[in-house]
Amino acid sequence: MKPVPATMDSLVEPLAAITTAPLQGIRAEQAARVVRRIVDSETLVRRLDVAAFNSAP
C-alpha cells in the first residue's frame, strides 16, 4: 500500500447543511459522516488503498 496523503476530505459541507437544517430535518447520511469522524476517529486524509474495493465476491 502507498500511504500517500492525498487530498483532505472535509466535514465543512455536511456541517453547513446540518447547521441550517432543523434537528429533525438533518440528513441521516450527513449525520453518519460526522459520527464516523467524531465518534470513530476516521481520518480525513485519503490514502491510496487500491485493494480496498478492488473486486467483489
Binding site: M1, K2, P3, V4, P5, A6, T7, M8, D9, S10, L11, V12, E13, P14, L15, A16, A17, I18, T19, P22, L23, Q24, I26, R27, A28, E29, Q30, A31, A32, R33, V34, V35, R36, R37, I38, V39, D40, S41, E42, T43, L44, V45, R46, R47, L48, D49, V50, A51, A52, F53, N54, S55, A56, P57
Partner: protein
Amino acid sequence: MPPARDSGPPIGQYILKMHGRCDLACDHCYVYQSVDQSWRDKPRSMLPHVVQASAQRVAEHAAARGLSRVRVVLHGGEPLLLGAEPMRDALARLRSTIGPVARLDLVMQTNGLRLDTAMCEVLKEFGVRVGVSLDGYREANDRHRRYASGAGSFHQAQAALALLRTPDFRELYAGILCTIDLANDPVRVYEALLAEQPPRVDFLLPHATWEHPPVRPGADPTPYATWLSAIHRRWLADDRPIRIRMFEALESTGRGGPSGSEQLGADAVDLVVIETDGHYEQADTIKTAFDGAPRTGLNVFRHRVDEVAALGPVAGRQTGIDGLSPVCRSCPVVSQCGGGLYAHRYRPGSGFDNPSVYCADLRVLVDRTNEESHMHADSKPDDSGAMPSTLIEQIASGFGDETTIGWLAEQELAITRALLFAIVDQQGPSDAWDILGTVEAKSPEAVRDVLGHPYVRPWAVDRLRGGGVCRLGALAAASAVRAGIAVEVGVEAVDGVVHLPHVGTAYLPPGTSGPVRVTFDGSELVVTAGAGEPIVADPARPVPTHAWQPARQVTLPDGWAVLIEDGDPLRARHRWPVADRLPDGEEQAWRSALTEAWRLIRAETPGYVPALRGALRTVVPLRADEDGAQRASTARHAFGSVAAALPGPADLAVLLVHEFQHGKLGALLDLCDLFDLDSDASVQVAWRPDPRPVEGVLQGVYAHAAVADVYRVRAGRDADATAGRQYTKYRQWTLDAITGLRATGGLTPLGTSFVDQVEAAVLSWET
C-alpha cells in the same frame, strides 16, 4: 513469466483468498464466470499452514523493504464461508506475525450473507474493516446477485449492513461495492446505497475486454458514462453526502493528485494475490482476459515476495503513465483515466497494451464530471459555510479572532446536533425528540443554548458507543424551560441528580437513578421521582434550596458569560475527581477569582480574550489536591469547558488561557488532520515522565506556547524573576517538543505548516 529485475518494487497490499467457493452464483462474477476456471483445481479454503506461510512472507518482505504499513484483504470466493473459529485462527496468525514488523490494516470484502454477531465479534477483535457488495435496490441487486436456486440475496445483504451500523460493530463498516448494470436506474441505485449510510461507496464497471466487450444497448455510444453522470450530478446536488471513490478519484486526479483507485488514474498498483493453495497471483480481475492470466507459478512456501515483485507484469503495474499504451499516453485526459482498469485493456494478440474497452465512456465521464464539478463549485454561494481561509493561521497564531472562534463554535454545535440526530436515527424517536423539534421551531435559540452546553457532546459520543443513559429528556426539558414553553417529559436521574443544562440541577435522595418526570407549566418547574416528594422550582427566580440548584451563571465585563458547572454528572470526565455541589462560600470564591482572572487576562494578554469570551462556556470545579498542587484539565469532546481546582486569580488566568488552547486545537482537529491518526510515534517531552503520542505533544506545544506568552508579558511588565523563569521554561519546552514532533514524521503537511507557524510566533519573542 519474465523477471523485470532482481528485486521488484515493494508490495504493500495482499489479497488473501480465504475461501475459494461462494454461496452465491452471481452471473457477473469474474472468479467463476470468466474464461479462467482455475478455481476448480484449488483447495476450498486456505488452511492454517498456508495462512502462516503467507503471513511470514508478508512480514519478511515488509521488514526487508522497511514498509511501515501493510494491507491484507480477506477475500474469496466468499471469505465468510471459512467460519468464525478458523477466521479467528487466521487473523491471529496474521496479526501476530505481521504486526511486530509493520502496521497491519485488515480489510474484508464479502457478500455479507453469513455475517452474524459471532463473526462480527471475531472481526472486531482483530480490527478487520468490512466492505459489502450490494448492487443497489432489491431488483437491481437481485438481477445478478442470486443464489444457485435463483433466489435473490438483497435482504440478507441488507441485514448484514444493518448489523454493521449498530453501535457495537459500526467501526467495522468500510463501505459498499456496487457493480454497474445499465438496466438499473442509476438514481434509484444511488438512493438505495445512500440509505445504507456507508462510509464509502465504489462503483465497478462490469468486467469486459476487447474480446468480450461490454453490453451497449441502444444508440448511446457511451452509456456507462451516461449512467455514472446521472449519479454524479445528483451526488453534487446533494453536497456529496457520502464518499464515492470513483468521483473522488476523478476530482483528485483533476487537481493533479493521486486517484486511490485501480479503476482510474495512474497510481502504482502494488498488490499481489495469494490463493487458497499458497500460490501468488496477479490481480485476479485479469481472470477475465484468458485462462491462467493471473498465474505466476510462484508460491509462499518456496518463494519470497521479492521474487513475485520482480516479475515483469507485476513490476510493470507500478510504472504509471509510462506503462500505458501509446494511444493512452497521447490522450489529454490520461492523468485522470490512467488507462482504466488493467483487465479492461486486454485484447488477444496485443495483450494489455491497449486503451480500456471502456475508453470512450471514460473519456466522456472525465470531461463531464470535470465540467459538472466546476459548475457546482461556481454555483455555491460564498456564505455556504466554507472554512475561513485564515483558519489555520488564526489558530496557529495562538489566538483566533472573534469571527474565527465564532465559526469554530458553530461547527462544534453542528457536530453535537448531528450526533443527537444519529442517536435518534439509531435508537428510534421518542417524546423527548419530538419536544426538542417543537421547541426548536418556536425558539431555536433556547435549543441552541442547551445543545451548546459543553457536556452534551461527550454524552452523545458515549451513547453512540453503546454507553450512557438517555439524556434527551433532560435536553428537551431544559430547552422548553428556557423557551418558556410548557412541557412534561421523562428524564433519567443519575445517582440522585437530574441536571437540566443551563437551567439547574435537582438533587433527589442519594442513589436515586432511573425515570423521573419533569413538568413545567410556563412558570413552575416540578421534578417528581416515584412517590417521593416533588422538587419545585421557579426558573425565573434562581433561588437555591437543598434540593434545587439553579445554574450558576457568572456575567463578567466585556461580554463574557460563563457557568460554574458543579451539577452536571457528565462533567466527571477529567483527570481528577470533580468537586461536589459547591457550598455558597465556595461559589463566591469562584466568582471572585473568575472576575479577577478575567480582568488580568484582558489587561495582560488581550489576544486571548475573543476566544475565551466567544466559546468558553463552563468552568468545572475540581477537588483540590491535598498537597496544594495545581489541577486543571480539558476533556477532548467537551469543547467550551475547562476544569480546575480553584487557585489564586493570577494562576487562574494562566490556567484558563492554557486549558482553553486545548479546546481550540481540539475543535480544529475535528475538522482537519494535523497528524497521522495511525501514527505510533511518541516523543519524550519535558513536562511528562512518559513518552507522549503525537496528538499529546501537539496539544502540549500549542498550550505551552500560550503559557510562555502569558509569563513573557508578566516578566516584561514587572521584571518578575519568577515569571521570567517560567517564560524561559515553557518557551524551551515548546521549542524542544516541536523538534521532537517534526522528527516523528507523524505530522500531515497541514500539521507541519501549523507547527511552523506556532514556532515562528515563539521564536519572535525575545529570550
